[in-house]
Symmetry: C2
Subunit: 664 residues, 2 copies
């Protein structure tokens, strides 16, 4: 039955114009065209094959990624792809690689923090990949807290250089700190032991090595490394430096640089294609002009000064990075939802009558109640990502006009939505995997790898809980200013409606930290409100295509009512709804699920994902799941021989009762 579409009967059921929905999902006809063209180009090129990843050893896997990265670059050069097309190509190659950091962090950091002169020197080299860069801002003992970094960059005016160094217990600053604390403790016979046992001493021999930067372990020739700037014995906070790591001739690490890979991470393929690295600096010298000097400068005489470039620009960059993470969340979640939805239509279980076919699992209400809210979330996140893109453009424009007024709100929005969407997406992918039953546990389902490759998004670029606390702080500040002349606008405009509450005397005596758990919940609620209201705003626009808007309205209602159900405790305890309302909402949800059901397959088809990009037998377009699973099984290396390697040494002695004399 090759070439047969096993889901055609599902596709025929749909009540809306799928092609029009594809444009809505892509954002514009142009965006659709580029995505469609480039994804098919990647899918049809055997050079980008990825179905063999899970069986490769770490070294084979990594070497294969190096090949693909080079091949992608060759394709980009050969076909003279535009910057937009090149970015899409890397996206659809769908394999974490050093190039992500080169294009996504190294180049933007030079653009954002480098002077005109520095940009002119370094960017052309980076654009042509004559150098390959990474971004080193996390130490083994210091992740989220950038201000806690221990690496130092000490200016040496005699040579006009900085000395980059990873301090250890024996380095002078730390030794003196150590001795000072020992001396305050009388009669301790074993000072080191005491220090360690007391838990007082915060540093350790290894805490200050750089740890995690992608591309650092084996590939990057250069790094933007962050370090405490020390000029004339005074510290001036953390700054970025361009540091060459490896020889451009033979790739060996330069003097004073100890560098390697940090080892295996979650999943089979997943992020193990990336050389996340460990790096120790031992008094590495770099020219003074390799300090990124857009915001602060050090002169050759050893004077530290700050430029008039506003420091707030840094927040603009964070807004940018986090809005791309939100956009990626909708991609990852929609991919998982596409797989689970198609497979739920293929899979049948129970409910057979008179020997007839069993029931498609997508027809079970229990399946629908878990799957369809995720489908709705994928669309909701797509639209919130679109809105954040607009917000970033708006903020950038304002910053250029020296208007910083909307920056705090934009910062809170992106921080909160980054946290909300990545948490929901990580959980959603795993839920989709479970919705595929046992077969979702196979690598060939694509879901284990999708999960393993996605979950770090909950931690990088701001731990999700830390980010919510930032949002909470912003909300508390806004509330404290209610009644003043500063009226809340934008996403916090709704607060004017609760202004009267602020007149009440508040009995709370505890501090922020003590109430942080509740504050996190408030921050989540605030962010959910943004997602729901932007989805509603989207629907107030004109959306062409038969039935398209109606489908989106159903999804929007599912998204909102699902949240109401999930958080009904908060709504009930604050008196916003009654138990009767809660029950009605539940009834309405059930009815909405029935409305989605016939359109489910078409709603995931609208993502326009190729089978290559999906990377899942369970989610393949034609629904021809079982033969493909069966055939894929035989490709496992264990099946290369009928009798397994190890039979003679380890199985036969068991069966032949010769285990006591066997060599094991």
């Amino acid at each position: 039955m090759e070439g047969v579409d096993h889901l055609a009967h599902e596709r025929n059921k749909s009540e809306f114009d799928v092609d029009a929905m594809k444009i809505v999902w892509a954002g514009s006809p142009h965006a659709f065209d580029v995505s469609d063209r480039i994804s098919k180009l990647v899918a049809s090129d055997p050079g980008f094959r990825k179905d063999n990843r899970s069986t490769l050893s770490r070294k084979e896997l990594f070497k294969n990624t190096l090949r693909k990265a080079a091949y992608a670059w060759k394709t980009i050069v050969d076909l003279r792809l535009s910057e937009e097309e090149a970015a899409k190509l890397r996206f659809y190659v769908d394999e974490p690689a050093f190039t992500d950091l080169h294009w996504g962090m190294f180049i933007p950091a030079i653009k954002g923090q480098g002077t005109e002169e520095q940009q002119q020197k370094w960017l052309p080299l980076a654009y042509k990949m004559q150098i390959i860069g990474c971004y080193a801002q996390t130490e083994l003992g210091h992740g989220s807290n950038v201000q806690g970094l221990e690496t130092t960059a000490t200016f040496d005016p005699q040579t006009d250089e900085f000395i980059i160094h990873s301090p250890t217990l024996t380095s002078s600053k730390y030794l003196s700190l150590l001795l000072a604390s020992v001396m305050t403790w009388e009669g301790s016979p074993v000072p080191f032991l005491f220090l360690s046992q007391s838990g007082f001493y915060n540093s350790c021999f290894h805490c200050s090595v750089q740890w995690w930067p992608g591309g650092l372990g084996k590939v990057a020739t250069h790094a933007i490394a962050y370090a405490r700037l020390i000029v004339g014995g005074r510290e001036h906070g953390v700054n970025g430096f361009i540091v060459q790591l490896r020889s451009l001739e033979d790739h060996s690490p330069l003097l004073g640089i100890t560098v390697g890979d940090i080892g295996m991470k979650f999943g089979n393929g997943a992020y193990n294609t990336m050389d996340n690295g460990v790096l120790r600096f031992d008094h590495v010298r770099i020219p003074r002009n390799q300090m990124l000097m857009r915001v602060s400068q050090v002169t050759c005489e050893g004077k530290y000064k700050q430029s008039d470039v506003p420091r707030q620009l840094v927040y603009g960059t964070m807004v940018y990075v986090r809005q791309t993470i939100v956009a990626d969340a909708s991609c990852a979640l929609s991919r998982a939802v596409c797989i689970a939805t198609r497979y739920s239509a293929v899979r049948r279980q129970f409910g057979s009558q008179n020997g007839g076919p069993e029931t498609q699992v997508i027809d079970y209400k229990t399946q629908q109640s878990r799957l369809f809210p995720l489908l709705a979330s994928a669309y909701a996140f797509r639209f919130i990502g679109e809105w954040l893109k607009w917000l970033y453009a708006d903020v950038t424009q304002r910053l250029q006009a020296n208007d910083f007024s909307t920056l705090p709100e934009a910062h809170a929005c992106t921080a909160g939505l980054k946290s909300l969407t990545t948490t929901a997406t990580a959980d959603g992918i795993e839920e989709c995997r479970k919705l595929c039953g046992g077969h979702g546990y196979l690598c060939s389902s694509g879901l284990p790898e999708l999960f393993a490759v996605y979950v770090p998004a909950c931690t990088y670029e701001g731990d999700n809980t830390v980010l919510l606390l930032q949002v909470a702080r912003f909300l508390m500040k806004t509330v404290s200013q209610l009644g003043s002349s500063k009226k809340p606008v934008g996403t916090i405009a709704y607060m004017t409606r609760v202004e009267h509450l602020m007149q009440c005397r508040c009995g709370v005596q505890r501090g922020f930290a003590e109430l942080s758990v509740d504050l996190v919940e408030a921050a989540v609620a605030h962010c959910q409100l943004i997602v729901v209201s932007k989805f509603i705003e989207k629907l107030q626009q004109e959306i062409p295509g038969k039935g398209v808007k109606q489908q989106l309205e159903v999804l929007c209602n599912i998204y909102a009512l699902f949240l109401l159900h999930k958080h009904q405790g908060d709504f009930l305890s604050t008196g916003c709804i009654t138990p009767k309302h809660a029950a009605l909402a539940n009834d309405e949800l059930r009815s909405l699920y029935s409305q989605v059901r016939p359109n489910a397959i078409a709603l995931v088809d609208a993502f326009n994902y190729t089978d290559h990009y999906l990377g899942s037998i369970l989610g393949c377009y034609d629904g021809n799941v079982y033969p493909k699973l069966y055939e894929a099984a035989w490709k496992d290396p264990l099946n290369e021989s009928v009798v397994p390697d190890g039979y003679h040494q380890y199985i036969r002695p068991l069966l032949k009762q010769e285990i006591r004399t066997a060599r094991l």
Copy 2:
């Protein structure tokens, strides 16, 4: 600082007798002794090393598992371990292997379903491992629904044999079904196409191959295979058969058997040490006496008959298997909690004052509110597991006396608690991983593997949602019988208290399936009630040891109030609590977290896990995390050479601008 205990200051804080708690956790002094002795034996034997798993290729990984399984058996034989000790040894070796199925499914199936004669023939062979068995009950197209299996076992009276066969589209029964359905459709030009597109036809060429059985792929010499029994052209439901798969001389598959591994699964090591298998029978003949005949028999004349052994015994076995899964849940969850708790005490982030140490992350309320409910859950699941063990013993005793009265309740209990504890444990492990921040993503944290190896528990031995629906059905039946002479007892005794509700006229018109989502929620609530009340009952017993009972009381309250908070919507909407109550419960939770804090490390020490069993650098007993992470990194195969394999082919051509002519 080798040998220093970096968590000593935490251990000194604890307010209870840890050794006494270890006995409580183990269940008895004897159980503690066996666990302690065997876990240390495994930990100290380099033959059971497991820290290198994540870097091995599939073939190396599998071969290493074969070696360990043989080595474990040799150790058991050499040391003349008791059955209890041998089981503990396999547990602490902590690597899924074919032996799990041999001891856990193959042997119990023969014991439970085989006649006396069959047991006498097969069990001695199995006990000595002269044969190695697996358990084949799932087909590619049929998982949870055993009654939907397609494999057939047709009796041939001429040779006194069964013919075991995996039907395909061409097999007669299915062909006739197929033709019948084609013929009812007039004018279809392409019958096969139509059948497939209509989604009507339930079977497929590949659906009936056995798929998933562990140990089948490469090792087992025999299988208990389930098939539809056909005698004299009549079908008699699904029955088990002992089928030899491979030659005992050279391990090659026997005539008519196509067998192999199904390929890679979630995670690096995890279940990839197991040869889950695919198996196709092509008219495989086995002697009649290899049908498991305890419950039904086929005589040599081809007569089918049923014995007087009650069929309910099958449910007894299910109760047994599921109660072991609940016990395993507390092991897996406590392991993750131990890792996350110790690392949360080691890790410091933010909050540094005047250059002093940063705050231990375990001191943040946001961390406590996520971690401590999981710590409480680990203890709750331990005690519910203990109670289920008692329940199983009780049911078994009753079954032997032909008392089936408590079986439905016992069945509902174990089904529901299997679902509840495995779902909570899978989610809890992942939550613990996130609580470890970025480093939790490293394989050396142990958490990715723990998650990947644990999650199938949500699917095997009954999909968790399907099981909750069974519980819901039991609850509805109980409710419908309220007011009759049949008084609810045991875990459903509380229902008598709501009997008056049953007098109300019910407006619900919809059926079970339509309301299944709500019914699942009701089933979860019922199961949570069991866990909480059994925890409270446990505390009504005498528990020796200074402060032990007090600590358990705190944990029990956290468990209960955390649930109240999580499900406050249900409590509020049913009027069981007021918003005021909900707020008070929240305050109380905060206070309870503060009470747990100084005891947290001691509470996870009480699990008495060796560093070998934990398999986590982040969770190591001495808390000396960073140096160990640093050292472990260098063992990755990528670090075998400074310049990575692939540099000359794939990196240098980029840097040297020679990509267009490179061979990729």
